[in-house]
């Protein structure tokens, strides 16, 4: 019972007794890999940081499963159980991501919009056709402003957008909104307001707009109508 290497002994004839040396080596490797993952995470490796951290975690998990959980020495049926579970986790992850990562901008459709789209066509088309034509180019007409249920300009100043984003081309804390309607679609404008740090114009700091919007409680207080009018207002710039 004292010989080296995994061996069988005692009343449980089929049980592998894993030597202390092996257990200690695995523990040492796990500690070492933890140190490696901490150190490599402090270094900026660009896109490699995440795959590296996950690879190290996977190796650690594999060591625990194979030696500490003794799956390497165990009845293969236990491995089969774990592997089956693992397969379904992968299926779960891939199917979910194939939706959420590739669905496009579905998630940013404002709640009010969903009801409007299912309403009878003649009640909706008027409101929607006019702005959409404008969005194509610079043919902005003042007449369109009369259709606005909420004053987008008022929303723009009420939530302090104007303190950072000028409308006349001058650069402030954030980029100017002059001509934004010609550069970006309504969806892009909408996404940039809802998720300011998703795309950052070069040379401008991230995080400030999100913090400002939180400070003025934008996401908590803005109504769907106000939000849409704000997007419309910007699309005309």
């Amino acid at each position: 019972m004292t010989g080296p290497g995994p061996h069988h002994g005692g009343d449980h004839a089929g049980h592998t007794v894993i030597p202390i040396r092996t257990l200690l080596a695995v523990f040492g490797a796990l500690v070492f890999l933890t140190i490696v993952t901490v150190i490599t995470a402090q270094i900026d490796l660009g896109g490699l940081n995440i795959p590296l951290a996950l690879t190290i975690a996977a190796i650690k998990a594999l060591l625990v499963v194979a030696i500490f959980m003794a799956l390497r020495y165990d009845n293969p049926v236990n491995f089969l159980v774990l592997a089956t579970g693992g397969v379904f986790v992968v299926v779960f992850l891939i199917l979910t991501l194939s939706d959420t990562a590739l669905r496009g901008a579905l998630g940013i459709v404002p709640a009010g919009e969903i009801i409007a789209t299912v309403a009878p066509p003649d009640t909706v088309t008027k409101e929607h056709d006019a702005p959409e034509e404008e969005g194509q180019g610079a043919n902005v007409t003042d007449a369109a402003h009369e259709d606005e249920p909420v004053d987008g300009e008022e929303v723009y100043t009420r939530y302090l957008c104007n303190t950072c984003h000028s409308l006349d081309g001058t650069t402030g804390v954030g980029p100017t909104m002059q001509g934004i309607g010609a550069q970006q679609s309504r969806e892009q404008i909408s996404e940039s307001i809802r998720n300011p740090d998703a795309v950052i114009v070069e040379g401008f700091p991230a995080g400030i707009m999100g913090a400002t919007l939180n400070a003025v409680r934008f996401n908590d207080t803005v109504t769907e109508a106000e939000f849409e009018s704000l997007v419309e207002y910007l699309a005309r710039q």
Binding site: H12, V17, L30, F68, L93
Partner: protein, 224 residues
């Protein structure tokens, strides 16, 4: 495998042919349970992945608020506890009963140390308004970090995921502590030997899984 007349062994239940069969059945049952645990946590890992893919910069930014030193310390504590529980099985198989008691106690201590660190982490976050869900309102300053800087959209999402994942993981650690306390009392009473140590083996499997979950949580939440 030798034929054992272990019918007569006290721990073998009537519906099993042998101690060996009973052990294998118990272990298979444990692995089935562990797979349901893997699936439970996979739901949260997929949630994490989806939101990280949507808002990678926010997740990278928000994770700066978590202290990797504390997370790393807890990683080492859990790894050590995985080692001690594996050793306790080794000594149970060798009938060294005193060592089994000591190692199970050490495992229990590590689990408690993990929860103490987690307590300080949570209370540090709560003190600065870092709560899960709608109550999220970071403020103040500590360790050179200005918390208000982290009050950006979707940061609350990161911390909701952080609290739910570490919370459910922490609950598993608490359950583990209860199990190890129970094992210690049984080991002291001399219930375990090389012929019968199934409860230590199964609790060990559970404990290693809790360790593995943390092995992934640590880099995902604290490092990247």
């Amino acid at each position: 495998m030798a034929h054992h007349a272990s019918h007569s062994a006290r721990h073998v239940q009537a519906h099993f042919v042998s101690s060996e069969q009973q052990f294998d059945a118990a272990k298979l049952g444990m692995w089935l349970f562990l797979v349901t645990e893997v699936l439970l946590f996979s739901g949260m890992f997929v949630t994490y992945t989806v939101y990280r893919v949507w808002h990678p910069e926010v997740f990278a930014h928000a994770s700066e608020l978590l202290d990797w030193r504390l997370g790393g310390l807890n990683t080492l504590v859990l790894l050590a506890s995985s080692f001690t529980v594996a050793l306790s099985i080794h000594f149970a198989q060798r009938n060294e009963k005193e060592k089994v008691v000591v190692l199970l106690l050490l495992t229990l201590l590590c689990a408690a140390a993990f929860m103490v660190v987690k307590y300080f982490e949570y209370s540090g976050k709560f003190a600065h308004g870092v709560f899960p869900g709608a109550a999220f309102a970071p403020h103040g300053e500590s360790h050179g970090l200005e918390y208000a800087v982290y009050d950006v959209p979707y940061a609350a999402q990161f911390f909701s995921i952080y609290f739910v994942m570490t919370g459910i993981h922490g609950f598993h650690v608490l359950v583990g502590m209860g199990l190890f306390a129970w094992l210690v009392t049984r080991a002291v009473r001399g219930h375990f030997s090389s012929a019968y140590y199934t409860p230590i083996e199964l609790t060990g499997l559970y404990w290693h899984l809790v360790d593995i979950i943390w092995i992934f949580l640590f880099p995902l939440l604290y490092l990247i």
